[in-house]
């Protein structure tokens, strides 16, 4: 197999990018155009096999900004369109760019069912906790009490945590990154593309205009991130902090933040991340960690192998057609009970 060599430029389109200055979405665009050449090389995917599908929202402008095949659908339906596309042609490398409104509100049903089917889509979920394109209404991930144009006295709805939703639905791959960590986002996308089955990469993005600083408390700058996020790697100890001396351990079935060397805690007490564990419990707990009590988990939180939907469909077609006597429409029409009029 000859290795396909592309550069970032090969995946940039000639379209003018129309996001607001300073929008976190630019960083995701940068990450994906960095990830695609790596994915092409790793998996021997030709440029023409990349297809990006989106719904509606700021994030859904994405297909116009990359030079691949692209489909900009209607609000909430990206995962359904992509499900049809991938089922019809499993050879494509299908990405879905979507947001917290597109996939968790109007398109929530398609999102959870794509997860349930484990169809091999690479979903990039831009989470800015707000509706940007409609100019500032609360979303299903907005914090409780958030004041927006449609919640002038604060929301009275509890937000979704996308990771809990994905893993709770037995999703097979979930990763999280923040807009500022382009290298980590790129790495998550590359890992997601290697995963056979539905993968969701949540990227916490900042909306400068309508929700500026929503992730700032834990993701504001490098130092803050070091103290308030933990980047998980499969097979490695769950350590964080600028001195990498804080860690996570299990205490009475709950996660607990401890400092190595304090209160008798040693490195052996710290949990080792197993992204391949099929049981969802620990992954749900990790995805659910909230600031300020816990560091917010980044990186690949869950990555387990299960049969994929499109593969199972192809397998059935191969098996059933090998056994069936019906090979063409004429066979079909003449099958079963027929009679001759003479």
């Amino acid at each position: 197999m000859s290795e396909l060599k592309y550069t970032v430029a090969d995946f940039k389109s000639d379209q003018e990018v129309k996001w607001c200055p300073g929008c976190g979405d630019y960083a995701v665009l940068s990450a994906i155009t960095k990830a695609m050449p790596q994915i092409a090389a790793n998996s021997n995917v030709d440029h023409s096999r990349f297809t990006v599908v989106s719904g509606i929202g700021c994030s859904s402008r994405f297909p116009y900004y990359v030079s691949t095949y692209g489909f900009h659908g209607i609000h909430g339906r990206a995962n359904a369109v992509a499900t049809g596309l991938k089922t019809a042609n499993p050879n494509l490398s299908v990405f879905v760019t979507t947001g917290d409104g597109d996939s968790l509100a109007i398109g929530g049903n398609h999102f959870i069912h794509a997860i349930r089917r484990n169809i091999d889509l690479n979903v990039i979920l831009f989470n800015n906790e707000i509706y940007g394109l409609t100019k500032g209404q609360y979303s299903p991930t907005s914090k409780l009490g958030k004041i927006t144009k449609t919640s002038p006295y604060g929301t009275v709805e509890r937000p979704f945590n996308p990771g809990e939703l994905v893993i709770g639905a037995h999703g097979t791959f979930f990763a999280r990154s923040v807009d500022a960590e382009v290298a980590l986002t790129t790495e998550c996308m590359v890992e997601a593309s290697k995963h056979d089955g539905m993968s969701v990469v949540e990227v916490l993005v900042n909306c400068m205009i309508f929700n500026n600083g929503t992730h700032k408390a834990f993701a504001g700058d490098k130092d803050v991130r070091a103290e308030h996020t933990i980047t998980l790697h499969h097979g490695e100890k769950m350590l964080f902090g600028k001195d990498m001396n804080k860690g996570l351990m299990l205490d009475n079935m709950k996660l607990k933040v401890v400092t190595v060397g304090e209160n008798g805690v040693t490195l052996d007490d710290i949990l080792t991340h197993d992204a391949h564990e099929k049981d969802t419990m620990i992954h749900v707990m990790l995805a659910g960690m909230k600031y300020p009590e816990f560091p917010v988990a980044l990186g690949v939180i869950r990555n387990v192998a299960e049969p994929t939907y499109e593969h199972e469909v192809e397998r059935q077609i191969a098996e059933v057609s090998a056994q069936s006597k019906i090979k063409c429409v004429d066979d079909l029409l003449n099958s079963g009970e027929t009679w001759e009029v003479k």
């Binding site: 389109s13 489909f71 499900t83 049903n109 019906i326």
Partner: protein, 618 residues
């Protein structure tokens, strides 16, 4: 069959009715298949309640199956029945309005107890007098008792024994009409033989018991013979409209070389199309049951973008849910067929009953200027032709198509002279496989000069990478454009593309003489009833013809010419006048009378004839 009088009849309608758990659909199907195998002309129609198992013995829970068999081609399942088989008094009551004046009624005598009569809402113990049918030919065999007797040596529980009683009724009817037992026996053996040989044996035993009982009793001294119909020579099968629709799509897939994808959500009365397609993994069909109606059409659009011949199948309520996505298919100019098997609306309405109320929704039920090709099938068999044609038009003209059928033709079945695929045309979708030399960059919205179809560039094809979507498109590049003149140009191009389809479909035809006193106009699934009513009028020497539409948008050429040759035009449809108003808009120079029915039922020939006669006298 000694000592029996055999009377020849040219035309018989039998209605089997009972509780929805009594197996009436199977009984009716076995009878009609037997008659079809004997060469009779056949048309059948199931009439079942929305509830799967409504309270036993109540009128609401009655399920029926009507078989019309004849010594000639039949166009409808018949208005009224010659024979009513009723498994209980509720079934009798529910079907009293469908009896011919001299009808024979066969009712299970064991079911005429006080409790059952009360349950069915009778106020006396004499149901026949109460219904005013005491002078009909009523036969009251104790079907349940005789079924139990026939199975007394079988090691079966009473519930399973009683379940076999439908076979007793079938046996009686097969004897009455001189039909052999072979087919039902073969069917029962094939269905239960391996899995449950006792059940198979019991059913066959009861079937024979019913047949022998009829043979031995004076009540059935008269039997009837319906000769084989003079049908065109060839191999036949029985097919219902939903099956034929599914198969038509598979045929279009074969002729286009595009794999078939169906994304659908179960909904009455359309579900059987999805079920038929789901069986066809052997032909590579990817039929997927989606999480909802919207996912049904959106997965289909995704598959169409990916190069499949994509369809989605539904009924009225689901058709409403798909509206926004139909607009997406219109603006992305992808081939797609949306089937709406119409049922009584609005909202959930009367889901198991037929209606033609979705015409306006099919024509105009989308936001923006959003034209789609709309075609309608008119018989169970021709669902195959129109599903095939819908696929051909969608793929060759790169536009979504609505295919309208209805609960009546979807569930009804007819004998079908099996076509040969060599007689069907190839389908040529405008697939592009490499970047043309005169295009420095691929122009996804560049069009064919004649059809105005854009080219279909499939993801995975090097050099043709492009982006499409729901935003208005630049007329060549396909990139988003908010330019006012470009938008107007695109709105008109999409409309013109659909309008030009008129050059690729057959001109409108007329059934009967090309001129006369009355032109009956219909569309879709009413064809059989309208034809038989027009035939009836013409046999009486009246100058009546039928102009029946299958192509609705665009309308075929030649319509105004046909309309102009008649003194009166009456538009008949199972709604409140949607097609009539469409005609008033399309051909305002003519005056249109209307005949409308919205009872969830097909027309009857009788009511049509009466109405036509009144119109002729006015």
């Amino acid at each position: 069959m000694e000592n029996k009088n055999i009377t020849e009849k040219d035309d018989v309608v039998i209605r089997f009715s009972g509780d929805s758990g009594d197996g009436m659909q199977l009984t009716g199907t076995l009878f009609s298949d037997t008659a079809a195998l004997q060469g009779n002309g056949i048309s059948t129609f199931p009439d079942y309640p929305a509830e799967i198992r409504a309270p036993q013995g109540t009128v609401a829970g009655v399920s029926g199956f009507q078989v019309h068999f004849s010594d000639h081609r039949v166009q409808t399942p018949g208005d009224y029945c010659d024979v009513l088989v009723a498994m209980n008094p509720a079934a009798l009551k529910a079907n009293i309005c469908w009896l011919k004046k001299d009808a024979t009624i066969i009712i299970d005598g064991d079911s005429l107890d006080e409790k059952s009569l009360a349950k069915a809402g009778y106020t006396t113990l004499d149901p026949f007098a109460e219904l005013g049918i005491a002078d009909y030919n009523i036969i009251v065999p104790d079907i349940t008792t005789m079924t139990k007797e026939a199975l007394k040596d079988f090691d079966m529980d009473m519930k399973s024994v009683v379940k076999c009683k439908n076979m007793f009724a079938l046996g009686i009817c097969l004897f009455m009409f001189n039909k052999p037992l072979e087919h039902p026996i073969e069917y029962i053996e094939a269905k239960f033989g391996k899995r449950n040989p006792t059940v198979a044996e019991a059913n066959i035993q009861v079937l024979k018991a019913g047949y022998n009982y009829a043979h031995n009793t004076h009540a059935f001294a008269n039997t009837y013979d319906v000769h084989a119909a003079d049908l065109p020579k060839g191999r036949y099968r029985s097919v219902n409209g939903n099956q034929a629709t599914a198969w038509g799509f598979i045929a279009a897939s074969e002729k286009s070389g595009r794999p078939l994808f169906c994304g659908s959500y179960p909904i009455t009365p359309a579900t059987v199309i999805l079920e038929e397609l789901a069986k066809r993994r052997d032909l590579g069909v990817k039929a997927i049951q989606c999480e909802d109606e919207i996912a049904g059409i959106c997965t289909a659009i995704g598959a169409a973008f990916g190069g499949s011949f994509a369809v989605t199948t539904t009924s009225g309520p689901g058709f409403s849910l798909k509206s926004e996505a139909m607009g997406l298919a219109v603006i992305t100019e992808l081939p797609l067929v949306v089937v709406d098997v119409q049922r009584g609306g609005p909202s959930t309405g009367i889901p198991t009953k037929t209606e033609q109320g979705d015409l306006f929704q099919a024509l105009w039920g989308r936001n923006g200027e959003c034209p789609m090709i709309v075609i309608a099938a008119s018989t169970p068999c021709d669902c195959f032709e129109y599903a095939f044609t819908a696929g051909k038009l969608a793929m060759e003209h790169m536009t979504p198509v609505v295919l309208l059928t209805d609960g009546y033709i979807a569930n009804g079945s007819q004998p079908w002279k099996i076509p040969s695929m060599k007689d069907y045309p190839e389908i040529h979708p405008p697939i592009i496989t490499s970047l043309p030399e005169d295009e420095p960059a691929f122009l996804p919205y560049k069009r064919d000069e004649k059809t105005l179809a854009r080219r279909w560039a499939l993801p995975g094809t090097p050099g043709l990478e492009h982006r499409i979507g729901g935003l208005e498109k630049h007329f060549l590049k396909g990139s988003p454009s908010h330019d006012p003149h470009n938008h107007e140009k695109m709105v008109r191009l999409r409309a013109e593309k659909v309008a030009r389809v008129a050059d690729y479909i057959p001109a409108q035809t007329v059934y009967g003489d090309p001129e006369g006193d009355l032109l009956v106009v219909g569309w879709g699934g009413t064809r059989g009833h309208l034809e038989s009513a027009v035939d009836h009028m013409r046999r009486e020497g009246k100058k009546v013809s039928l102009c029946h539409f299958n192509y609705i948008n665009p309308l075929p050429h030649g319509v105004a010419d046909i309309f102009s040759r008649f003194k009166k035009i009456v538009v008949c449809e199972l709604n409140e006048g949607q097609f009539a108003n469409y005609m008033r808009m399309s051909f305002p120079q003519f005056r249109y009378e209307q005949y409308n029915k919205v009872q969830g039922l097909p027309f009857t020939k009788e009511e049509l004839v009466e109405n036509f006669n009144q119109l002729l006298q006015k």
